[in-house]
């Protein structure tokens, strides 16, 4: 479904991603792990078209997308939920959601999709006419996720979905992920907590200083000594 081959990404002269390849198949949940500054968000931004790779290619459902602008990539069914939620603070919850579902492919179904989002996160429905900045962190994360879902993605990419959330909300988000995945949506997400990430994904990729150092089935990675080295040093 998603195939990233040997991408190299730089900010000006400063290269941060070195020959990274990864893949997400239909129906899969895949985690991308790595310490701070290892290039995880940069890879996400490159896949969704916010950044252009210096070399390598990104394919989605067989079509090359690494030269396309991000607003066209969304229409193909690839939604990217940016790090730190990035909801529109001075729009209401519903206006935020609405904005996710305006492109032609999603627009036809948006009332139906909105209903699904409200079923997934009933809290959003209760708060639908509040301005987004007045929501709690957890609710904002739900809103960001819901807004992404409004585009009816086939692949959902979420950058640090659990950042700064309380354990109760983390559990709620995990359940939401399961339900989204059960609907047939593939998920690729970034997470720094190894236990959390691997416990809820089929496969994982581990990144260190812009290079992939390890990949494999989540269960195997959980017990790997190499994972401990990357995250704990030594």
């Amino acid at each position: 479904m998603l195939k990233v081959s040997d991408i190299e990404v730089s900010y000006g002269d400063y290269q941060v991603v070195w020959g990274v390849s990864l893949q997400v198949d239909a129906g899969e949940v895949v985690s991308l792990l790595g310490p701070n500054g290892s290039g995880k968000s940069t890879i996400f931004n490159t896949i969704s078209g916010l950044l252009k790779p210096k070399a390598g290619r990104v394919e989605f459902e067989g079509a090359r997308i690494d030269r396309q602008p991000s607003h066209q990539i969304v229409r193909r069914g690839l939604a990217h939920i940016l790090e730190r939620r990035r909801v529109f603070p001075y729009l209401t919850v519903r206006q935020n959601l609405w904005l996710g579902g305006y492109h032609p492919e999603a627009r036809a179904h948006r009332v139906e999709t909105l209903k699904q989002v409200y079923e997934l996160f009933p809290r959003l429905r209760e708060r639908e006419s509040q301005l987004a900045y007045s929501l709690s962190g957890g609710e904002q994360q739900m809103l960001a996720l819901g807004r992404g879902l409004m585009s009816r993605p086939k692949l959902l990419m979420v950058d640090e979905p659990f950042l700064g959330l309380s354990p109760a909300v983390v559990q709620e988000m995990k359940d939401a992920f399961k339900r989204i995945n059960a609907e047939g949506v593939s998920i690729l997400f970034i997470e720094q907590n190894v236990q959390v990430a691997l416990s809820m994904s089929h496969r994982g990729y581990i990144l260190e200083s812009g290079r992939l150092v390890l990949e494999g089935e989540s269960e195997a990675l959980l017990t790997s000594a190499e994972v401990k080295r990357v995250f704990l040093g030594g």
Binding site: S70, H80, L82, R86, V87, R94, L99, Y102, V111
Partner: protein
């Protein structure tokens, strides 16, 4: 919380299983029915606006209102680009000048009806917005503002030296007595100008009202709040920025044509000045940016202020109004960046919350 009982009308349409919240969702923002008091106030305001020039049938009070309408029209145009789409222009006088020169030149040279000239002006202003916007709207942060400022200054200098359109002395529009409506010239009374200005202002406000509910309006606000997030949701950011710029420029040029027909002189010093670009911004900021009523309130407060200081302080006090504007803006920015409209809304909300609290305690 609102009642969740489906309205009988909806049930009759065979959609009873649809829940009301989603019914609202179909209508985009939740429709709140206007209360009777609001309707009556609106009606009274409309009657007052229509009766005003006949009741106060003297040039000065009419002139003040015409200036309020004109400046509100300009501030509202600026508001579309800056308030809704978040792109601050410091050179909006360019489009005012384009409007004034297009219709003025065509009328003075070929006797083309200024109404037609206005259309030409709108087209040129929009084309100019595309030409200026495509390269500059890619710039982030304050660079767009600086670019528009510099472009506006350059355009003024070009017009000061361009012989074909009268260079520094500009264009004097010939006074024509016959066919006032077609020639957009009313030499007997200011009343027609009053209603035309009111009409133009209503038009731009209607556009903003519609924009608030339309896809483009949502996209503009998304771009204002977070361009990257907007892009990640499928918004073609540069295209919509340019669109906002075009709409804004088009309305601004209408104001230019109106002004040209009102004073019948067009010259670079009066239609391209930096002070005009700044004034338009100040009015919108004062009233409340990104709101429908903000620019109107701002103009209603600031324009009379400048007209009256001009009268009472005469020629020597030529810039006193600007000093007062400046002071007011500083006060607003320091204490309440939301503008007059925001202050009023907060006050209303404060009393409403207070009222609810009192009831809760009782």
């Amino acid at each position: 919380m609102r009642s969740r009982t489906p309205a009988p009308m909806i049930a009759a349409l065979g959609a009873a299983e649809r829940e009301p919240a989603l019914q609202d969702a179909l209508n985009e923002p939740a429709r709140t029915p206007w209360r009777l008091r609001t309707r009556l106030l609106g009606l009274a305001g409309l009657v007052a606006l229509l009766a005003y020039p006949f009741v106060l049938n003297a040039p000065f009070p009419q002139h003040v209102m015409i200036m309020i309408f004109l400046y509100a029209l300009m501030a509202q145009s600026w508001n579309i680009l800056a308030g809704y789409c978040g792109q601050i222009s410091l050179g909006h006088a360019v489009f005012f000048g384009i409007g004034a020169y297009s219709s003025g030149f065509l009328f003075a040279t070929f006797r083309v009806s200024p109404w037609l000239g206005m259309m030409v002006g709108i087209a040129i202003a929009m084309a100019a917005a595309v030409a200026i916007g495509l390269p500059t709207l890619r710039l982030r942060g304050h660079y767009f503002a600086i670019a528009t400022l510099v472009i506006a200054e350059s355009v003024q200098i070009v017009f000061q030296r361009w012989e074909f359109v009268g260079a520094a002395s500009g264009i004097w529009l010939p006074i024509v007595r016959e066919n006032p409506l077609l020639n957009f010239q009313f030499n007997e009374s200011k009343i027609p100008y009053y209603f035309i200005a009111l009409g133009f202002l209503s038009l731009v406000c209607l556009a903003v009202w519609y924009l608030e509910r339309s896809k483009a309006g949502y996209y503009f606000r998304a771009i204002r709040e977070d361009p990257e997030a907007a892009s990640s949701l499928g918004v073609d950011v540069s295209r919509y920025k340019v669109l906002a710029f075009m709409i804004s420029a088009g309305f601004m040029s209408i104001a230019g044509t109106f002004y040209a027909q009102y004073v019948l002189v067009v010259d670079p010093e009066t239609v391209f000045p930096l002070t005009l670009s700044i004034l338009v911004l100040l009015i919108a900021v004062m009233g409340g940016v990104g709101t429908l009523w903000g620019p109107i309130i701002g103009a209603a407060v600031l324009v009379p202020l400048s007209e009256f200081t001009r009268i009472y302080l005469g020629g020597t006090g030529g810039s006193v109004d600007l000093i007062i504007y400046g002071a007011l803006i500083v006060l607003i920015c320091v204490f309440r960046p939301v503008g007059l409209l925001g202050i009023w809304k907060d006050w209303r909300l404060g009393t409403a919350v207070g009222g609810a609290k009192n009831r809760g305690n009782a």
